[in-house]
Symmetry: D4
Subunit: 249 residues, 8 copies
């Protein structure tokens, strides 16, 4: 029920053309629609400046483009995740302004520049070379959601001194995203160095008992540092999104 309908009923009650009894009955059945109405408003404000996201895996280029077309009318920015190169090229041929980030496997379509809305800097760190695609997905997502983002890649714990070379950048971040596969130790070490929230992202990088990322995931959940929370394996997008939420608190 929209506002107009409600006014209509109340006007009728006021005018005496609808009895109080009948109006009670009618209004006893407005429930979800009203909430829904509020929800839509709320959702609209919620999404302002935030990317709508299309999960590209398992969708054809045509399906992706179709969804993008519907969204393009209303949205300032559209993100597509997990889009391989071939799909991306097909999509880009239909949206002149769209940009493809190959390493991150993301397509970004912006109608205008995204203004920075986050309080501080988000820093994305990653452990091994193979973790970079997931780290890049986090990076692009956080940036697209209106944040200053920095990154330091390839600072695994087996050469811990490399991490210290970037201590200033680490100290200056307001939110940190730490991406690691294999033994997943990096988030613990980084979180021990700062008093900022750290979003840990396990990756499926590794073999044998890396168990497709479960080992890194479990290691991160067992972190002996308390300022760590974890997202799903390879979920760079989720980490970027969560960091953006935190950076606006």
């Amino acid at each position: 029920m929209d506002k107009e309908s409600l006014e209509e009923i109340l006007k009728n009650v006021s005018a005496g053309s609808t009895s109080v009894e009948d109006a009670v009955k009618t209004l006893m059945h407005i429930h979800i629609e009203d909430i829904d109405y509020a929800h839509i408003d709320h959702h609209r404000s919620l999404r302002k400046g935030f990317p709508e996201v299309i999960f590209g895996e398992g969708k054809t280029a045509g399906q992706i483009a179709g969804i993008m077309e519907k969204m393009a009318a209303q949205e300032e920015i559209i993100l597509v995740t997990r889009a391989d190169k071939e799909k991306a090229e097909s999509v880009l041929s239909r949206f002149s302004g769209a940009v493809y980030y190959e390493e991150a496997r993301m397509i970004v379509l912006k109608k205008k520049d995204i203004s920075v809305q986050g309080r501080g800097k988000i820093l994305v760190l990653s452990a091994g070379t193979s973790d970079i695609p997931v780290a890049r997905e986090a990076y692009i997502t956080a940036q697209a959601m209106g944040n200053d983002v920095d990154s330091v890649f390839d600072v695994g714990v087996a050469g811990i001194h490399r991490l210290f070379n970037h201590k200033k950048m680490i100290d200056d971040a307001s939110v940190l995203i730490v991406v690691a596969g294999m033994e997943g130790a990096l988030p613990s070490v980084v979180a021990g160095m700062v008093s900022r929230p750290v979003i840990a992202v396990p990756t499926s990088v590794g073999y044998g008992v890396s168990l497709g990322g479960l080992t890194a995931l479990f290691a991160m959940l067992n972190s002996c540092s308390s300022n760590v929370a974890v997202v799903n394996i390879d979920n760079g997008f989720g980490a970027g999104y969560m960091a953006a939420m935190i950076n606006r608190v």
Copy 2:
């Protein structure tokens, strides 16, 4: 918001003492309460003749009795599951009409007899002697919810002919609950004999690779019979509840 408040507002609109504009504002904010109101009604009808259930595990006899007292004013029947003998005796000393089913570890408090509401008979079958407590929990639950219930215990697949001895009873049931631990094969065999819905209940009975009931659970979910759906390990109550729901469709 309750019905009275709503009538009050509408009467005021009708009488002109509240403007339409103000009433719109007020009513735009009634959402959940209204739904909740409806929900309460709905819930009340939902629960008619159906037991409220107290999960006894991890609660003291005092806590159980306390909850029962609050409920006793409104409810026709109260069920307590997973109550050991000691707790039960303490509870029963405070509720003269309550009955304790030791094997099923359940306490039942009825204010009046439960009339039969189910369409047909519910039959509870179980495989091994150790599965009987779970089977009894299902039995008592289904019965307390207003169903005719029969049972055949100790008809494991290692002596398949024992099952056939009860073929008539199996054929006559409208819903079947089949309880088994270890290899969990009984539901498949039973379901292959009937064209009725079978609720399979894995139990934690077994050792070694029974894995606390996971093996029986997975076996039941893999049943080569299609008229089988499964509840959690040792969840006799859930099976009885679900069977009662089905028997009223």
Copy 3:
């Protein structure tokens, strides 16, 4: 042993051409055949108006068509599940009346219309876009088995208000099938809204710790709503079949 043979023996006994002793010997050895005979009868009635089902995965188009040919003589309706498009086209070229439901990956061959036999409506709900194929399989199966079926797709718990938009349809269903992957939360929420049996279907949709659908499966088995029973991962057919069984109780 069929009825004729039995009559033959008894007639001979009656006529004195077979001694009681010899007849006892003979009849002591009729066991399975007799039962089998009964079973066949029973099975025939069981299957009336119900689909025979061919699991298409791992079978060639030729094998599928071969089985269909054998069945076509006796059966009113033939269902094939998990048939990809290529196989389906090959099969359809040989059975003029067969229909292929691409999303559900099912082939349906009906000799005549299926009359509605279920008591009420079966409602199929699904959470995400990727869950739709499994939901469609449940839908087609339940429908082919003689039920009125409705569906609401894409009502995941992350936008819970969308669910409430369909509250009337949910309230009116006699049996509900709820399909969800990832965290598998939808069946709990839906089952909390109704006092009807809910068949929960976990799907393999997700990545990382979705563990190929195990997480959704376990979540559903742990539902805090009691009117939920669960089938195997991606088993839309089983859910439709079970719902049809329930709807005829």
Copy 4:
């Protein structure tokens, strides 16, 4: 090496009493101590107004009290987690100002009141009655770290309307902690209602395939809402700590 020692060396170089060569040798060996020096400073500021935390499980009352005594000289506030009642009473008898929160199993010793430092309100929601101890641990931790904290307990997804009754409180929170066992569905539903960071805490509440909390954990990591990050099973303290970090970003 502290600053004074460094100045000493450089003064000697400046004064000519130490050769450049010798100073190079000496300074080539200051490495970690220097960092450590910096770290200590950093740590001190880091810990300002933040609780030191003693994990009480597996420690005797005597050991807990011993550590508290050492800390009491320097710290404004001391937290002990996972302390059962017996231990707590023994500890409290030695620290007159200490308070024991039985449900949360925490001991808090404050020298002075903690000023509120967080930006907004932290809201702790929990699903079932058995989840409350973990939720209380999160609550006490976040509060002790200088935050306004609210809580709504017992709002499981099986009665989703109860959640909506608290919609305003949910909308007003800047950070949300959502605690749930069994199927772990509550964080997804709550996160879908807000554009704020949600810390999900799985609990070990449940039986059968709750797998000691693994099911809830995996469900939360698979959340179809993106503003969710997860901590270890039953880790209420970690959730409270992480929320406090986020609320100060």
Copy 5:
């Protein structure tokens, strides 16, 4: 239906007091009982000289004794497995002829001596000291079922030469039972030395990644020797029973 009833019917048919038609009807309904009848015979022969077995775990001494009393009338030998000392003493006080094997945790009650029925010798080997109880259970079971049984305990693969000291005994066995925990390697080594069937029994002996015997179980199932089949973890009884079956082929 027993033979007498069948004769009765046929006599009536023969005498003309029952029509063929009525007899057909009646006999169409004898199914399982007939089979059951056969089964009973079959079972009786099956059990000849073989122990009935009572699983003692989870039963009280009273329950065990009760079952034994019922069985004692008909059976030559009664076995009770997994009976701890206290229960056993209570049971033995009621059955003068019963013997308790403490290490094997078994009670054996024989009415007369069991004659040897197996073709050759059964040899029970075990790896570590802690595996002996399971090995003893296999030993007592096989012996009680009428077999010559030998045993060599404590011949783990870490001192492989100890195994060779018993090579003659190994070569002379007709069936071998090999019991091992931890890495479960012994069955592979032993099976490589003989061309006889080897029953492998994993035990729950070990810690850490022994995973309660799963590691030994999986290792045995992966044996690079082909003459190995495996029973459940700690299932000494099953191994003894299976070996007895094999030794009578």
Copy 6:
């Protein structure tokens, strides 16, 4: 060291041309070779009439043929398992007498007919159509090792009466191999019908929580029938080999 060499040394000692001291030294170092010598003898006798087996998976047709050529000189029969059709055709083009069993994926090359050496009949039963390849592998293996083998395929527990149709064949077998995927219930049912050893073979047939055969495997290990031992998933060859061993006890 072969017998001749040993005789040589002893003759030299006897003749005085080798001192006792030197002979002691020499013989102290014959260990493994001597054993090996015995082993070779033993192995030769062991292998008499038994197939050498080549695991074809992961080997090229060329490699398989190469090994076959080396073996062909000495062996009466050669078995190749897990050989796909393409490889088999290539191999068969080089060995005129070799036969390819496509369903079993085995190549058999016999120099002469294998005489029957087993005591009784081996019966291979299998549950579903998809289990047949594994069942055929067991069949061919047992037959090639000199046994009479029978088979009954497609007797799953969902239509238990089909099993009883073959009761005589089941009763007459001396060893039974029972092959099943999905819930793996068939071995329990069959073993309950006989007093013969049953080798259970789980297959990887199924989907969802069949877990690649783990569910069937665990179900079989948990069999409530005691005359069951189990081999690895899909290990038809091992079951056939073990059954052959048993049939010669």
Copy 7:
């Protein structure tokens, strides 16, 4: 067969009192004994200066003392692992020279001082306070086997600077044992700092997804440092033993 028996035979051959033929027969059957003979020698030398170890868990004080008494005659040193305090006190009352290390739960009985045999120093590092017992077990074992051992406890990765405070000690070690529970990250970090072999010991310290030490174990096996090998969960003894072996290479 011992050397004397062999000489006896050969002397008889030499003397002509035993024919070559008979000697061949006899010697064809000495195989294992000869090897065993060698093994015994080898084992004696192997064990020189090395502790025999009694696994105390699951043994009574009486059993432990009994084994110690048998060993005391021959051995220079006796180690007992996993002995709780009560058992230890009982054992110590019977062996005046024995020492109990409570934290390590070990009893050590030395007849004389153990001389240092290792090449360099073994360093034991551990992460959390709760890991110390396992670390102490490694320490005592390595020391008892004749090594200089140092230790640094409580240097978890959440405060990585604490580790660097001990850099010299780390650099100087020839073999390192690194003990850690929870996320198990310490071995990776330490191994990245040295070019020495690191033995990683996962502990069962942690809760939730520490999975009883599996997470730490898997993390260590996935170490991005290559100079790491791993022992079983909580296996401090094994790590100390392995380090001692390495230190003597």
Copy 8:
């Protein structure tokens, strides 16, 4: 900061052109760089004669060659692991001196011969034919790192006598690498024969419950021999590297 910069600062202090105060400030910020500097030195010496290793899996031939080019200037030897034949040929066409070991899937590029630096011999043993590639990877790695390496392949425990044929080689090794899949029993047997450190390498060879190598891994970690430590599944390179470290202790 390199040594020259440090000298520069100190010279300026010495010369009075930089004040002590300014120098303190500057040097307070050299921390990591200094450590890094040290680390680089340390690393350089560490790497002397040791291979830098490129993990070839997931890299293109171009990427591999690119990294090799950068390294070639500084390094004496370059190792590439997990390079398939096609990639290797492409790489070799650009580096004339490079050698490809096909079985080990490794490329080795040496500028000059590697001098032997290890103390004793490293022996690589492997169980089955399919384990050879992993064993070869260990062999090539250890050899490239300056060790004498021997190997014995195909000595599985099912024919334990084959192992004894190589007893001398086993006794003479200073470090042993034992590679096995399936039940992973070989390391236990070998370690029981020697008093030397054994590095166990599980492989993913096997099917069914080999669980991709987890079973072999767990078996090895449960070894009843104490001189065993384990690396990740299929990690031949890590085993070779660790053995080289040990051989230089």
